[in-house]
């Protein structure tokens, strides 16, 4: 009966015809989705690089190279060095400084070295984990935001239905279709964010474990060096 009801239901038409709150929700979700994908790719690149650099450093370190030479190299190219190299550099620098001071016991030297390494480790971990909280937020909240848009759109569709005498499915169908787009967008934003968050937290955990064990092993090596010199 109404010619407007048989209009086209294309994606853009539906979005443009949606009510303002639903459109705002869609805009918000689009922004969240864009940002989360952006962070996903940033994290992907930086984590890949961190893994690669850490692998090569470990290979070099356990390959039996000269620690002094390694320190020189890492200090020279600090900008491009990886997380573990930073820890190594901080620890070794602190160790050398403490060793130059007279009458310091072995425990004090090793503890100072470990504290320096731990501080750098925390900073590196913090940098690795940046943006991850945003992914977690998008992953948990955007389905609700999309649901809100859908509920609002369906409410409006049914309100329009109350003013007509004969209710047909064709009168609510476009409203419900446009409302459901909001849920679809929310899920589209949430699913990659959740997957990315889980995956990156796992990767970062493994990297952190490697860094921690390196710290312990490096402390042992330094301790051995000190005791062997002292003897």
């Amino acid at each position: 009966m109404n010619p407007d009801l048989s209009q086209d239901l294309s994606l853009f038409h539906l979005i443009l015809n949606a009510s303002i709150p639903v459109q705002l929700v869609m805009l918000l979700l689009l922004g969240a989705s864009l940002m989360s994908w952006w962070f996903i790719f940033i994290k992907m690149f930086s984590l890949k690089r961190a893994l690669r650099v850490t692998d090569s450093f470990e290979r070099e370190f356990w390959g039996g190279g000269d620690i002094n030479a390694m320190y020189q190299r890492v200090a020279a190219e600090r900008e491009s060095a990886g997380e573990m190299e930073h820890i190594f550099e901080a620890g070794f620098r602190e160790f050398m400084k403490l060793r130059q001071q007279p009458r310091l016991s072995l425990n004090v030297i090793i503890d100072g070295t470990r504290r320096a390494m731990r501080a750098t480790y925390q900073r590196e971990l913090d940098s690795l984990e940046s943006h991850l909280s945003f992914l977690a937020t998008v992953g948990s909240v955007s389905p609700y935001v999309g649901l809100f848009g859908t509920v609002w759109g369906i409410m409006i569709a049914f309100m329009g239905l109350s003013s007509v005498a004969q209710a047909t499915l064709a009168q609510v169908a476009p409203g419900i279709a446009e409302a459901l787009i909001a849920t679809a967008m929310g899920l589209f934003a949430a699913i990659p964010a959740v997957v990315g968050y889980n995956r990156y937290t796992h990767d970062i955990d493994r990297l952190a474990n490697r860094m921690e064990s390196f710290m312990e092993e490096f402390s042992n090596i330094l301790q051995r060096q000190v005791t062997s010199r002292a003897d």
């Binding site: 086209d8 689009l30 864009l34 952006w38 790719f41 992907m44 690149f45 930086s46 550099e89």
Partner: protein, 278 residues
């Protein structure tokens, strides 16, 4: 006291531009997938206009016309070749031998005659083809004109038919409307009778009633037929009787009402009710 310069924390610049471009790419891909992957109900099949042709001659005449055209072309070169044939003919004259000369002349004559005959034939043929062409064109023009006329006639007749149909529809609609009104009126009358019989059955006539007095009441009804209020608009002169009628109407709630919307309008929300005891 000054703190020793420790190595400062180095924040590595992440490849943000590449990541941003990739994020945009993912969204563009998803939108493309949605637009082209899902068959949205974008267009309703548009009404198709169909021209119905009773005769299909306009297609055939051009083909008829086109076939004769190539024919004159191979014929025409023949006359052009005549002078070329004639020119080499004179040289045989110089030889002294008369017989040969005669023979040659006879042959030449024959040849000439043959050529002339061929020429005439070709000319006749060309003329014929031209005539045929003209004829075909005339035929075609006549056909076209005829078709145009037919078209016009058809259009005129179809318009007239459409007009007639429209008028017929209008009159039909009017007839339907009046019929419907009659139906509604009959339904209303039926229910009025039902209501008055129900009320009459509930009326307890007072003893002092004389004759067949008429009471007019205004009854307010709910859509369900329940009586909301009754008011006497024109008394019968006998107060006891008026009261009895009012009570009877209240007692017969809910009143029977027609289901149809149009017929119902005569009863809801107000019904002027006329009651006589007999």
């Amino acid at each position: 006291m000054s703190f020793p310069a420790d190595a400062r924390f180095v924040s590595r610049p992440a490849p943000t531009f590449v990541a941003g471009a990739m994020a945009l790419g993912v969204h563009a891909l998803f939108v493309l997938l949605l637009v082209f992957g899902v068959s949205w109900q974008t267009e309703h099949p548009a009404p198709v206009m169909v021209d119905l042709w009773e005769t299909l001659p306009p297609v055939t005449p051009p083909s008829v016309e086109r076939t004769p055209r190539p024919r004159p072309e191979p014929v025409k070169p023949a006359p052009e070749r005549e002078p070329v044939v004639k020119a080499p003919a004179p040289p045989p004259k110089p030889p002294d031998i008369a017989l040969e000369k005669k023979k040659a002349e006879a042959a030449h004559l024959k040849k000439l005659q043959a050529i002339q005959a061929a020429e005439e034939k070709a000319r006749a043929e060309a003329a014929r083809t031209v005539r045929e062409k003209q004829l075909a064109e005339q035929k075609k023009r006549a056909l076209l004109r005829q078709m145009e006329e037919e078209d016009l006639m058809q259009r005129v007749t179809s318009e007239a038919a459409a007009n007639e149909a429209r008028q017929l529809k209008l009159s039909e609609a009017q007839a339907a409307a009046s019929k419907r009104q009659a139906e509604v009126a009959s339904v209303v009358g039926q229910y009025r009778d039902q209501i008055s019989t129900k009320v009459r059955g509930n009326t307890r006539l007072p003893d002092n009633l004389k004759g067949n007095p008429e009471v007019r009441c205004l009854v307010k009804l709910l859509p369900t037929g329940e009586v909301q209020s009754v008011r006497v608009t024109q008394s019968s002169g006998n107060a006891a009787y008026d009261e009895a009628v009012v009570r009877a109407i209240e007692k017969s709630s809910p009143l029977p009402l027609p289901v149809e919307r149009d017929a119902r309008a005569a009863f809801v929300p107000e019904l002027s009710f006329v009651h006589r005891p007999k």
